[in-house]
């Protein structure tokens, strides 16, 4: 009797976390599911407010129109393929640019002694407290005066220029033993060779992790792209979705918005999935 009871108790202890986790997944997944389903029905069905929970038949049509066309039924929008390309360029340039700047400045701060080293480090550190949203008006002024409105440079450079990852790379570099640096010096590796041959390969997993974070950060930028892009050709997909919503329920192509939203989710998901394999590889190798 006792053993039965304790077995039951154990099963309950197993079941409770599962139920909680499954509930959590459902709560998170449900809106995404609705979006997916919505992208397969026509605008009228969605607008009536009682969307079926099973796929409809308009999927190919919705995606094709969102992807290629300018005219919806009720609104005019930039084709998603153009917006996706803009978002992709922005996210890639921001992610790679930030990584490049951070790793180089962290290398300088961690491995070299030069006058005012700590002053520079703190200056870099302070940019963390000044994200674009805080300095948006002066930054806009500068970008506008330089004629960078509606350019990729204007879209990306102000977002790159805060060294988010410098601190992270510096902390990692400080764990590289001095003796390794000295062995490289004796082997004859100069600063650049040591960076390329030793520091970069050792930072691989850190770079991969940061790339995921920064790619999603870049992809989801909203306020800054809204300010510096005016023409439809430069629109990013996050801006595009909000513009497609229009002025009221009646004037909105909800089917196209759903399809666009699904498309807009794909690149960040792809980056996470692809990079995840890198993390695992880095963890399994355990070279340090």
């Amino acid at each position: 009797m006792r053993t039965d009871e304790s077995a039951f108790g154990r099963r309950l202890m197993d079941a409770v976390p599962h139920v909680v986790l499954i509930l959590g997944v459902l709560i998170f997944a449900f809106p995404i599911y609705i979006t997916l389903i919505g992208s397969t029905w026509d605008a009228g069905t969605i607008a009536r407010g009682n969307l079926p929970l099973t796929p409809g038949g308009e999927m190919l049509d919705n995606y094709a129109r969102a992807w290629n066309e300018t005219r919806g039924d009720r609104i005019i929008h930039t084709p998603v393929r153009i917006m996706m390309m803009n978002s992709l360029i922005m996210a890639l340039v921001i992610a790679l640019g930030k990584i490049a700047i951070s790793i180089i400045s962290a290398y300088a701060v961690a491995f070299f002694r030069f006058p005012l080293r700590m002053v520079f480090f703190w200056m870099i550190f302070i940019t963390l407290m000044l994200p674009v949203e805080v300095r948006i008006i002066p930054t806009y002024e500068v970008v506008a005066n330089m004629g960078l409105i509606d350019t990729y440079a204007g879209l990306t450079i102000p977002l790159i220029a805060s060294a988010t990852a410098t601190l992270l790379f510096r902390q990692f570099f400080l764990t590289i033993p001095d003796e390794l640096v000295e062995a490289a010096k004796i082997d004859g590796a100069g600063a650049l060779r040591f960076f390329v041959d030793v520091v970069l390969p050792l930072s691989r997993t850190n770079i991969a992790a940061l790339f995921v974070i920064l790619f999603i950060y870049g992809w989801n930028q909203y306020l800054w792209p809204l300010l510096v892009t005016n023409s439809g050709d430069m629109e990013t997909v996050v801006i595009g979705i909000t513009k497609m919503i229009g002025n009221g329920e009646a004037a909105t192509d909800w089917d196209l918005i759903m399809a666009t939203t699904v498309l807009a989710m794909l690149p960040p998901v792809a980056v996470v999935v692809l990079m995840q394999r890198w993390f695992v590889k880095g963890l399994v190798d355990s070279e340090k």
Binding site: P177, E179, L180, E182, A183, A184, K185, I186, D187, G188, A189, R193, D197, V198, P201, L202, S286, E287, K288
Partner: protein
Amino acid sequence: MATVDLNRVRKSYGAVEAIKGIDIAVADGEFLVLLGPSGCGKSTLLRMVAGLESITGGEIAIGGRVVNGLEPKDRDIAMVFQNYALYPHMSVFDNMAYGLKIRGVPKAEIQARVAKAAEILELGRFLDRRPSQLSGGQRQRVAMGRAIVREPAAFLFDEPLSNLDAKLRTQMRVEIKRLQDRLGVTSLYVTHDQVEAMTLADRILVMNHGVAEQVGTPLEVYQRPASLFVAGFIGSPPMNVLDAHVEADGRTLALPCGAALPLPHPQPALNGREVKLGIRPEHVAVSADGALSVTVDLVEALGADTVVYGRLPNGEALLVRMAGLPVCREGETLRLDAPPPALHLFDGATGRRLED
């Protein structure tokens, strides 16, 4: 191959003087061990030779060429570190080849040199492995391989065996000795372990607080320690040091415990003076009519030897090391004798040896 000459070499960190003027001429092919307690400046001195620390004063020459202003890579040296300092993301082969690649050595020659070093060090099977897939001893061999392939003028070792366990340390010590016999490259070897120093060195430089206390062959350093510091640092257990008074007649040493020992050599300058008397534990012998009488405090039987912790009548401690199994028990009184050649005299104030 080359000589290494240090000429009044000094190093200061701000107001702290870590190296206070060291002179040493290392001959071509010689194996010099820098020996001293932790913090005495051994690594600092070695790193100055390597070019990893700036030289505050004096001159360092390798192969007759002053290298004070040269980068480490231009000094024609190779260094082996305590923590191996292997590149974690490179294979064993690449670790050894890296320095040669940078110097633009042709591929075929790199192959040949690495293959040869791998054969000497028995690393052939591991060339494709990463350092993380090797044991500590194998990693240290790779680190030595990296030094060997460079064919430098001098090897610099900084406590290369300190991270290994005792058994492996002994084994690697023998390997380093063989390697040195085979390659005959001038070497500077830093250690705080007197056994490593005694077994490997052609000459030992004993350091203390940034000063060279003594330079000499292992036997010279053991048999004629130049100072109380060297006497205490070399030998295990350490040398006994007792107060002593040279009688006015210049023949006898009077000890506070009441014993009198014959002075090894008459030294008129010492007559009537206070000195420090050093006696190695292994040179004290049990003898029925010995001059010293001790009460046995503690007996340590080590199998091959026995260490006896004795106490002289005035309370001073006296260590005795005897071959074989214990011949006495705790609480017993022993009569001991120390033959005149085993007596070392030091100046109590300066700690220097009083030459005989």
